[in-house]
Point group: D3
Chain length 132, copies 6
């Protein structure tokens, strides 16, 4: 399996209002450094798994609605707890949708699997990975 | 598959007394920066794969008996060669046991797979990954 | 000059309510991975610039009031814009105070210079460095 | 599954002469920091997945023909587009051949799977991973 | 002293045609991950050493003429050996010029010192640092 | 000021037999990832601060007597406490001696300043920096 992985980041505020989160129940925030890996079984005749320019743009587009936002105030996340895992799945879903919509170009059809990793600090990260 | 990965480290002494290890047969040591990744198929209703606080504590507990130790003098490793691979498996086994013992909380039952990575330098690392 | 540098992190929410910040005027947040470097001209008879355990604790103590907080609601920062630079200086001042208060032990008197670096993402960081 | 991963790097020039590459159609270059991961199901009686010394040498040997080269002038790549993905597969194939040729020693027969990752910058990387 | 440091990268081809460079005399290339640090003695009333958006743009502009280029063919470098050190100084000079030209805004006048670091691999980097 | 920095590593065992070190009084060990930075005011006519090949070799030579050693058993360190700071100074002194001995070539005379950094984990490092 081939893979191409690109990196971007977002800076968000949120609270995690459930007892299990202890002090993180309060309004705080995070920088998420986000890696998106696109897996394909084959390369096209240009030697590409995916067009890295389109992959980078797709990731930026997927992150745009989160950039400099307070997630507690975003209708998208109403009633949800915006943990790293939930956000990884959210970005995964948006990228999967972008691939289906053709945003990765003709080669998007080759993508078999996707992984979205959110690094929340130098000691913790979470990801979601699944076949498309 | 979801995953949450947390990081800690230990500083140990040991020797690797087999000819294949060349100069590393002598007493020397290592800092192992250790990543433990917990994989689950689903999230709980708090949006968690695992409770990151409990995961961090479980990793610290698994590493505690190694911290500032000479592994050559530890009964646990008598007759064993404490390579990076062997130690990755050792930490894996301790974490698997902690999960079975309920140290990861109720959510520990969701954990399907575990990976323990030991970074021994900026140019080498080893890991053990398996289903639980 | 000798130096010892230790690392910790905090996750905060804040807004930067001045036109120059564009979209960052909105409530958002950041993970700051924080490095504190302690500089001394000499080592003590234990071979130490500073006691790394005390240095780590002093950094954790300096960061504690920021941990999981919305800085917009903290009296400490009332009327201030909590940029990375301002926060680096804030942590610097708290550490300098801790050194004067003896929190770094007898060896704290050897510290000549201090640098506090806040990494806000994989592509940006800020710091404040000065003699004590 | 166990794995041992070692790191090396090469600095090459090339052009990517297809319209999809935009400005990268021109002669330019890259530092590829290369990770090779060797996966085994079991360890040998020395506690090893693979001999890390032999693994490091095999990776260096696989990279040697690329080191300080203009890939456009290399007969090996005539008619090929030397993308990160293509090069990851190229290094994978050379390592697989080295394993079959016995360069990883008797333990080379244990290797079940191989992954070669090429980091081309702090924001992009590609890899090829497959069973042997 | 305060500092803000931002990161970008370029991928270039070049040769180093002097005997001292051994195999690097041949046409090859590099990814340079570039950090530019802007030092100021004071912050403005918005809490800024420099406007990080302008700093990021100034670095991108300074690197633009190098992006995806063969430096051997660039008139700018005719008769010069484009080592990491020479390129660090080149980017430094362009940034210094941008600051003088007002590209960093009104706050550019506060910048006392500049450092440009080029990371050429995971094991080597060079930089140029000087007062303005 | 120009600088070139190269990286290597050593894996050592030692104990720190003074009460201040708590659990680290026991025999343990460390991987030290070591950066050596060579500072010069000017470049030579090949565009070099120092010959990076010679710098890399000088660092490897300086570290060779530490590689896979138990520092408690090394006459060099008899009666000394081998903290990160002490070892940084030790490597600094060896590099300074190598420069004086001509190991950095004719260009070694240009070196004005030297810094040796020892990274002992992902959260702690120490260094020694001084003019030559």
């Amino acid at each position: 399996m081939f893979a191409v992985e690109v990196r971007d980041h977002v800076m968000i505020a949120h609270s995690l209002p459930r007892p299990v989160f202890g002090p993180a129940q309060a309004m705080h925030g995070a920088t998420f450094v986000v890696d998106a890996a696109f897996f394909t079984a084959e390369l096209d005749e240009d030697g590409l798994a995916v067009d890295i320019g389109l992959a980078t743009k797709a990731l930026a587009d997927a992150l745009a609605p989160l950039r400099y936002r307070n997630l507690d105030a975003e209708p998208t996340f109403a009633g949800k707890v915006t943990t790293t895992e939930v956000l990884a799945k959210h970005v995964f879903d948006r990228l999967a949708q972008a691939i289906r919509a053709g945003d990765l170009g003709a080669g998007g059809g080759r993508i078999r699997r996707l992984r979205v990793t959110l690094h929340e600090s130098h000691v913790a990260r979470g990801w979601y990975e699944a076949d498309l």
